[in-house]
Amino acid sequence: MSIDKDKIKHVSKLARISVDEKKIDDLTKDLSSIFKFIEQLNELNTDKVEPLSSILNEPLRSRKDEINDGKIRDKILENSPKKNEEFFVVPKVIE
C-alpha cells in the first residue's frame, strides 16, 4: 500500500487527529517505510487460512438478561465538559 499526502490527510480526518501541515512530508515517509516492512507478510501464502479473530481458544463469556446497572446519571455526566442536569451538551450537530 502506498502512503501519500492525501492518504495521511484522509486517515487523520477519520481518526480526528490533527496533523501539522509541515509534518506531513515526514509522516508520509515514516509511514511508508513502516508499511513496507509490514507488507513483507504478504509474501506468505495464506489462501487456505481463515482470518483469525482471536488468539484465545475460549468461549465468549455471557451474562443473564438482568437489569443491574444504570441509574447513575450524575456519575455519568460528571466528566462531561459541558452538561445540564439531564443531558450531555455538545455543539449543534444537525443535518
Partner: protein, 494 residues
C-alpha cells in the same frame, strides 16, 4: 415532475419516463430492537420513555477500561428470529467494530457484525393481491444502538441522551427483491408480524423499535443489471418509506433520462418537504474501518442450543394460516387477515372454541375491526373481549337475538364493554320466538290489511316484504325473522 404517472401494468409497478418505462429495485435494512430487559453488553434497562441518561452504565457511556459482556438472551432472540425467517444459523460469528464519529456514539465505534453474522440467508413469503412472492433475506446480525441527539431544546447546542446507547438491535438485510412501495408495506408488516409472534421485537415504530434504511435504484424495464443505488437512512414509518421510495425513484429516472448518472450516496428523507436529499456529512462515512473487536471473543453456538430453540418455536403466521384454512374452512384472504397479528389470531381461536365459525369470522372481520379502526385501538385493548364476542355470537345462533338486533347490542358493548346477555335483558331485546305470540301478531296484521292479502293472493308476490315489515314494526324488531317468515307463508297460503 409533470405528466409522469405511475402505472400498474401486468401486475408490475413501473415508472413512466419520457424515454421509456423503468422498474424500481428496493432492498431494506431493517433495524429491529431486540425485546430484552437489559442491553446487549451491559446491565442497564432498555425500557422506553425513562428520564434522560438514567439507563446508562459506564459501559454504555464508554468510560475507559470498561469491557462489554454479552447478554445471552439477546443471542437467543437473534437465533429465534433467524429460525422464524427460515434462515441458516451460523455456529460461528464475530463481533466487529464499525468506526465513525458522532456525538451520540460515545465509543467512537459501534459493535456490530460484519464478515461473520450470526444469521445467514433466509426468506419471507409475502401475500400480495395477485399471489405470493418470496423475498430473500441476505443476513441478520446483532449490533448496538446509538444514543439519541436532541436538536430542538436549545438553539445553539445539541443534547445527548444515552439511554438507547447499547440497546441490542437486529439488522435484517433483505435482498434487492422488492419492486414497489406496496411490496415494501407487505414486507415490513410480515417481518413485524413474525417477530411479534416470536416475541423477539415489539415492532413499535412510534417508539423506534423498528426502523429501516431503504436502498433504491432504477433500471429500464426488463433490464437484468442493477442500477446505482442510493441509501435513504433511518426511515421510521411504512408511509414515509413508501413516500421516500416514490420520490427517490422519480428523481433517479429524471437524472438518468437527462443523461446524468447516479452518485452512490447516503440520503435523508425530509418528511415535511417530502423529498430526499444528500447527507454530505456522510461522505467519508463509508470508510468504517471494520475490524474484530478485541474486547469480545468469537461467538460459537452449540447445535443443541439451536435445536432447543427450534423445538420451542411458536406457531408462525404461515403455518397458522394453513391450519386456519384447513380447520376452519377459511378462504386464504380471511386466514391472512386473521393471522396478520398474533393477538387477532388468539382472539379468533378463543371465540370459535365455543361458537359458530362463520358468524364469528364475520363479526370479527366486520363490526369488531370497524370499531377498532374507528377508535384506533388494538384488538387487545377492545372492550369487547373474545369471551363477550363469543356470547354475542351464541345469542345469534341460538335465536335469542336476530343479527340486526345483535348489531344494536354490539354498539353498546363496544362502548361499555358490558356483557351481551345483560344488555339484551336490560333493554328487553330478546327475540320473539314463541310461535303463538307471533301468530297473534300476524293474524292481526292480516285482518287489518285484507286488501293487501287479496292482492298478494292474486299474484303480487312483492307484498310479502310488506307483511314482514309490519311484523317487525309491531314486534319492535324483535320477531325471530325465520319463524315470522314461516308463519306468514303458511297463513298466506290458506
Amino acid at each position: 415532475m409533470v405528466g409522469k404517472v405511475m402505472t400498474k401494468e401486468k401486475r408490475k409497478y413501473l415508472i413512466e419516463g419520457e424515454k421509456g418505462k423503468w422498474e424500481v429495485v428496493i432492498g431494506l435494512e431493517v433495524h429491529a430492537q431486540v425485546s430484552s430487559n437489559s442491553k446487549l453488553f451491559s446491565g442497564s434497562s432498555t425500557k422506553f420513555g425513562a428520564e434522560p441518561n438514567t439507563q446508562v452504565s459506564l459501559v454504555d457511556s464508554a468510560f475507559p477500561g470498561m469491557l462489554p459482556v454479552i447478554n445471552e438472551f439477546c443471542i437467543q432472540q437473534a437465533i429465534k428470529t433467524g429460525l422464524g425467517l427460515n434462515a441458516k444459523i451460523n455456529s460461528y460469528s464475530v463481533f466487529d467494530r464499525k468506526n465513525y464519529f458522532y456525538a451520540d456514539l460515545p465509543q467512537g465505534y459501534q459493535i456490530s457484525q460484519y464478515k461473520n453474522p450470526i444469521v445467514g440467508e433466509g426468506k419471507i413469503t409475502l401475500d400480495l393481491p395477485n399471489g405470493t412472492k418470496t423475498i430473500g433475506i441476505e443476513r441478520l446480525h446483532l449490533e448496538q444502538d446509538a444514543g439519541k441527539s436532541i436538536h430542538d431544546l436549545d438553539p445553539s447546542n445539541t443534547y445527548v441522551d444515552l439511554n438507547r446507547s447499547g440497546v441490542a438491535l437486529m439488522e435484517i438485510v433483505s435482498k434487492p427483491d422488492l419492486s414497489s412501495p406496496d411490496e415494501v408495506n407487505a414486507y415490513i408488516k410480515k417481518l413485524r408480524s413474525i417477530m411479534r409472534y416470536l416475541g423477539t421485537c415489539d415492532g413499535n415504530m412510534q417508539e423506534g423499535s423498528l426502523r429501516a434504511d431503504v436502498n433504491v435504484s432504477v433500471r429500464k424495464e426488463g433490464n437484468k443489471e442493477l442500477g446505482t443505488r442510493c441509501e435513504i437512512k433511518n426511515v421510521n414509518s411504512i408511509k414515509f418509506m413508501q413516500m421516500a421510495i416514490i420520490y427517490e425513484a422519480q428523481r433517479q429516472v429524471e437524472l438518468l433520462e437527462s443523461g446524468k448518472s447516479i452518485d452512490q450516496e447516503t440520503r435523508l428523507f425530509d418528511t415535511k418537504k417530502n423529498e430526499t436529499r444528500s447527507m454530505r456529512s456522510k461522505e467519508d462515512a463509508h470508510d468504517y474501518r471494520y475490524f474484530p473487536d478485541p474486547d469480545l471473543l468469537p461467538l460459537n453456538l452449540d447445535k443443541e442450543l439451536i435445536e432447543n430453540i427450534k423445538k420451542n418455536l411458536p406457531e408462525l403466521p404461515d403455518q397458522k394460516k394453513e391450519r386456519f384454512i384447513k380447520d376452519y374452512s377459511l378462504t386464504a384472504y380471511e386466514a391472512n387477515v386473521l393471522v396478520s397479528e398474533k393477538e387477532i389470531s388468539y382472539y379468533f381461536e378463543e371465540v370459535v372454541k365455543t361458537s359458530d365459525i362463520k358468524l364469528a369470522k364475520n363479526w370479527i372481520m366486520g363490526d369488531l375491526f370497524a370499531s377498532l379502526n374507528e377508535k384506533n385501538i388494538s384488538i387487545s385493548q377492545s372492550p369487547v373481549t373474545a369471551k363477550k364476542m363469543a356470547q354475542l355470537v351464541d345469542s345469534i345462533s341460538s335465536g335469542i337475538v336476530s343479527g340486526r338486533t345483535a348489531k344494536e347490542v354490539f354498539e353498546i358493548m363496544k362502548e361499555s364493554g358490558e356483557e351481551p346477555s345483560k344488555i339484551i335483558e336490560s333493554k328487553g331485546l330478546q327475540q320473539k320466538s314463541d310461535p303463538k305470540e307471533l301468530e297473534q301478531i300476524i293474524e292481526k296484521i292480516l285482518t287489518e290489511n285484507k286488501d293487501k292479502v287479496e292482492q298478494y293472493k292474486s299474484g303480487k308476490d312483492k307484498l310479502f316484504g310488506f307483511f314482514v315489515g309490519q311484523v317487525m314494526k309491531i314486534s319492535g324488531g324483535k320477531a325471530n325473522p325465520q319463524l315470522a317468515n314461516q308463519i306468514l307463508k303458511d297463513k298466506l297460503k290458506k
